[in-house]
Each structure stands twice: as structure tokens, then as C-alpha cells.
């Protein structure tokens, strides 16, 4: 078995024209957001949609290919929640390493905000499937469960019990992430100009914010927005033939522990422990080599549990990474979620695409001049660990990306 490390690179990453809350005023669709992002990344890289050989999306693949008259050699429709896009990069790496394709598109568009206005008509890729899905009669609605927050809060309670963490420890994550958002004018919570609730926050603000599902307060919870994003990957042979620099896929891994939280074993450990291990091994790198963390933040607790599973902090010790603003702008530790995260930048429902876009920008040195690049937030990181978490702490995809040196 050959090691596919560095067989492919991300060669461009872009967002849809607009993102956030504002779009919901005029309304938008999933398709629109996908296509805008694809048009932007194609313009950025100089790759025509016709050159795309592999199309990867979370449940929208044939629609995208049809819309753009792409005749793909490889279709991937994997939709396993917000981590889907990290899995897509893993799958694209494998397809490219196997010599099946040279150019792959990973795309996302989701009108999470507008869909509320449209009474659900705008959502795509859903569908209940089997009406008697395993376990369905024993979890969710009949037992008071609904949506995402109700379940993640159980994990936070358990983490506090098992490891002695506190609500203040988790609140630090929200504060650090908000600090990054204040450097990103496209972040929903950038400032009072972008949103009445925007601008810097304190630990006390988080604790005082509205309780949603104890112990989660609203500032522990991600936004619900509209956004689209797209990245292009190319084989090692082609990686230097575009307008934009490559960012290498040094390692990739994916795994899952459960789908329904009813089946989760230890509520303080996700399958990132396995997807991370696979990615580290492929890259020949370890946690101490990581200079940037792009960690899925559907909730503060998601970040806390994930950084521990990835070995970036000891079990029960996530707070070490955040205390004193270490992970924030100008902090002394590894910067985490430099775009402002799902907590304060944008989160459409499935957020994993935005982890990729930001990691690409940081490692390609285009955080300040890429499409929608933002002045002031370029870090010096040359390596990044990207971890998507989907479902209810269920599915994980871990990537280790490195700059072109």
C-alpha cells in the first residue's frame, strides 16, 4: 500500500459572493451559493469548470455537474454532516493518488438561514430515508430531543463531571473565537456594524447569555447563516500550474463512532482520536508539529472535546490551549479558528467547508489578498490541522495541510 501523502494539493479556495445573515433578506438557494463559490474559485485559480474531473459535495453532486455541464469521471455524494467536506478531501486525495483524476472540486452551498424563512423548502440533501431507521423510536422528538444543541449539552455536562472542567473554561473558547471574528469583516459577529450583538465578548457575557440547553448558553452555540464555499484540488504534477499556490494534503483520515448519540460510548471522546491518528501517520507528523488549528465549532464543547481527541491537549485539559487568550489573535499558543469560526463567523448547518477555505488562505499566505481575503489576520502558520465533526459528535474527518515550501 502506498502512502498518498502529498499526492494532491488544494490549489484554491473561495466563498460565495455573500455570506451570513444579510442574505436572508433577499433570500438565496443552495444552488446559488454553490455556483457562486465555484465560479469564484475557478476565477481565482484559472481552472475552467470544464477541466474538473471529480465532483465532491454533501448530497448535491449531480445537480452541480449538470448545472455547469461538467462530465465528471468521479462522483462523490458523501453527506454525513458538517464533516463531509474533510472526508471529500480525503476521498479526492485517494482518487488522485490512484491516478483516476487530476482535478477535483469540493463544493458546498447551504441556505441555512433563508431556509427558515422559506419554511424548509430551501434545504437540500436532507430526507429522512427509512421511516423506521434504527433507534428512531428510542431517541429524538418523543423523548424531548430536537435539533442539535439538546444533545451536545449532554456531552458538556459529562465533560464537566468526568474531567472537572467548568462553564468558564468552555466560555473562553467562545471569547477567543470572537476575538478572531473582530478581525474578519465578513464575520457575522465582527462588530456592532455587522450585527447588533457583534464585537468583542467576555467570559461573563457568555455565562450571562440566554440559556439554551443547560449547560449551553446561546454564546456557546454556533450561528445559523447562509454560505457557500468551494475548493479545488489537483495532482502533484499539476499543482504548480495555476494562478494560486498549492497547499499540500500531507495527511488525511476519517472515522465515526456512532450516528445517534444514543450509541456514543464516552461522551467526552469522539472518533477524531482515530481519524487524527490516521492523518498524523500519513503525514509523518504529530500534534506538536501543528501551527494552526481549524476545529469545527458547532458548540464550544465540540472544540474542547476535539482538541483533546487530536492530542493537541491532554484529556480533560482543553482549556490549556485557550487560557489567557493563547489561541486568539496575537496569542502565545497555536491559533485556533482564525476566521471567527462557526460561533462568530458563519455556520450554515454544515460548516466543514469553511474550515478548508480558511486553512487554505492561511497556509497559502492569501488570508489578506485571496478572494475575500481579509487584512490583519494572516498568521505565520506553515502547517494546519483541520477537523470536521458531523452529526451529534458522530463523524469526523481530519486533514493535515502544509504550505508549499
Amino acid at each position: 500500500m502506498t502512502n498518498p501523502s502529498m499526492a494532491a494539493a488544494i490549489v484554491g479556495a473561495a466563498e460565495s459572493d455573500e455570506i451570513g445573515f444579510a442574505l436572508s433578506e433577499k433570500g438565496t438557494t443552495n444552488t446559488q451559493l454553490h455556483i457562486e463559490a465555484i465560479a469564484n474559485v475557478c476565477e481565482q485559480t484559472g481552472i475552467s469548470p470544464r477541466e474538473i474531473e471529480g465532483v465532491f459535495s454533501a448530497g448535491f453532486t449531480p445537480q452541480i455537474a449538470e448545472y455547469l455541464h461538467i462530465r465528471p469521471k468521479y462522483l462523490d455524494h458523501t453527506g454525513i454532516g458538517g464533516s463531509s467536506f474533510e472526508l471529500h478531501v480525503h476521498h479526492a486525495l485517494a482518487a488522485i493518488a490512484a491516478g483516476v483524476i487530476d482535478i477535483a472540486l469540493v463544493s458546498h452551498g447551504e441556505s441555512g438561514r433563508s431556509a427558515r424563512k422559506n419554511q424548509g423548502r430551501g434545504t437540500g440533501g436532507g430526507g429522512r430515508g427509512d421511516p423506521w431507521a434504527p433507534g428512531a423510536a428510542f431517541s429524538g422528538g418523543p423523548y424531548g430531543g430536537w435539533g442539535a444543541p439538546y444533545n451536545y449539552s449532554h456531552a458538556m455536562t459529562r465533560h464537566m463531571h468526568q474531567w472537572g472542567s467548568t462553564k468558564e473554561d468552555f466560555a473562553q473558547i467562545a471569547v477567543s473565537t470572537r476575538d478572531w471574528a473582530t478581525l474578519n469583516p465578513r464575520a457575522v459577529m465582527h462588530s456592532k456594524e455587522t450585527d447588533p450583538n457583534g464585537g468583542p465578548i467576555t467570559v461573563q457575557d457568555v455565562l450571562d447569555s440566554r440559556l439554551i440547553s443547560w449547560p449551553l448558553n446561546i454564546l456557546d452555540v454556533c450561528l445559523v447563516t447562509d454560505h457557500g464555499g468551494a475548493v479545488l484540488l489537483a495532482s502533484a504534477e499539476r499543482a504548480h500550474s495555476f494562478k494560486t499556490p498549492p497547499v499540500w494534503v500531507a495527511g488525511a483520515g476519517e472515522s465515526m463512532g456512532h450516528w445517534d448519540m444514543l450509541e456514543m460510548d464516552d461522551f467526552t471522546l469522539t472518533s477524531a482520536v482515530n481519524s487524527g491518528k490516521t492523518a498524523y501517520q500519513m503525514a509523518g507528523m504529530g500534534p506538536s508539529d501543528m501551527e494552526l488549528g481549524m476545529i469545527y465549532d458547532s458548540f464550544t464543547v465540540t472544540v474542547g472535546i476535539t482538541v483533546e481527541a487530536l492530542g493537541l491537549a491532554p484529556r480533560g485539559g482543553f482549556m490549556e490551549l485557550f487560557e489567557g487568550g493563547k489561541a486568539g489573535p496575537g496569542g502565545s499558543g497555536m491559533p485556533i479558528n482564525t476566521n471567527g469560526g462557526g460561533l462568530s463567523f458563519s455556520h450554515s448547518g454544515m460548516y466543514g467547508m469553511m474550515l478548508l477555505v480558511e486553512a487554505y488562505r492561511q497556509l497559502s499566505g492569501t488570508a489578506e489578498d485571496g478572494i475575500h481575503g481579509i487584512a490583519g489576520k494572516q498568521t505565520s502558520a506553515q502547517s494546519a490541522i483541520v477537523n470536521g465533526t458531523g452529526g451529534s459528535l458522530s463523524t469526523t474527518g481530519t486533514l493535515i495541510l502544509t504550505s508549499d515550501q
Binding site: 434504527p134 433507534g135 428512531a136 423510536a137 422528538g141 418523543p142 430531543g145 430536537w146 440547553s213
Partner: protein
């Protein structure tokens, strides 16, 4: 009227105001039969002797297809909980805060449900009760379905 679609299924509703589970007709029958009599029935593998939850047609531990049902103690311990302030679930939205919980069953594996009386306890006091004994309590939703709830034993 010819245009009116034929009603495939008419559910007899009682005054039970929460969403009612729609049991699959193939796998979990003994659980719902037992529930009517206030008994917690669990599936157990005849080969490796381990109980599992949710019900399956194959043992998730040893992959034997010899599954039988037994009457469990109806007791377990509180693994974790959350106090739902804002109910998203239809039926629950009329409620004030209520507590959802995961219970580690005495016989193994874990169930999810509402902890009756949980919202009367201050969250940090309830937090200290993680690991405490809980008992199952079935509430009649309709003639076919009695829904499992939980309550702290002491």
C-alpha cells in the same frame, strides 16, 4: 371525494401531548408489549449473553442472530443530563424547562429519555447526582404505545 387521498393510517390519540414514538413493526415488538405492563424488556444475545440497546436483529458485539428478550430490572444510573430551556420538539415547546438524560442500564448499554422531576432540581444539584440510581416509568401515550421515562430512585 375522489380527489381526497385515502388516509393510510389513523392513529388513536389520547391526551398525551408529546410526540409518540412510531415503533417499527419488525424488531422492537417485545419492548412495546412489555411497556404496556410496566416492564422493561431488553434484547439479549443468546450466544455472548450481552444485552444491547436499541433493539437489533443481530448482536452488535458478536454478530450472532440468536436474539431473545428478557425482563430487565428497569434500573440504571444517570450518565449525563441536560436541562432543555427552549424546546424545539413539537409538544415539548409548551413545557417549561425539562431534563433529558442518558441512563446506563444495570444490564448494560444505555437509554435516552426524559427525567421526570428533574427540572424541579437546581442544575448544579442535579449535576452532583450523576451516577445516581434511576428507575424507569412507563407513561401511556395510546393503547399501543407506553413511553419510557426515568426518575431518580431516591
Amino acid at each position: 371525494m375522489a380527489d381526497t387521498p385515502k388516509k393510510v393510517k389513523e392513529r388513536k390519540l389520547t391526551d398525551y401531548k408529546y410526540p409518540i414514538p412510531d415503533p417499527d413493526p419488525y424488531t422492537s415488538g417485545p419492548f412495546w408489549e412489555g411497556a404496556k405492563e410496566g416492564k422493561l424488556m431488553l434484547p439479549r444475545c443468546e450466544d455472548c449473553n450481552r444485552a444491547h440497546w436499541y433493539p437489533r436483529i443481530i448482536c452488535p458485539f458478536c454478530y450472532s442472530r440468536s436474539i431473545s428478550w428478557f425482563e430487565a430490572s428497569g434500573e440504571g444510573t444517570l450518565y449525563t443530563f441536560a436541562v432543555q430551556q427552549r424546546a424545539f420538539a413539537p409538544g415539548w415547546s409548551e413545557e417549561g424547562p425539562y431534563v433529558t438524560c442518558y441512563i446506563d442500564l444495570n444490564e448494560g448499554d444505555r437509554m435516552f429519555g426524559v427525567l421526570l422531576g428533574g427540572a424541579d432540581i437546581e442544575p448544579w444539584d442535579l449535576f452532583k447526582k450523576i451516577g445516581s440510581k434511576c428507575k424507569i416509568e412507563f407513561v401511556k401515550a395510546n393503547d399501543d404505545v407506553h413511553v419510557p421515562f426515568w426518575r431518580l430512585a431516591e
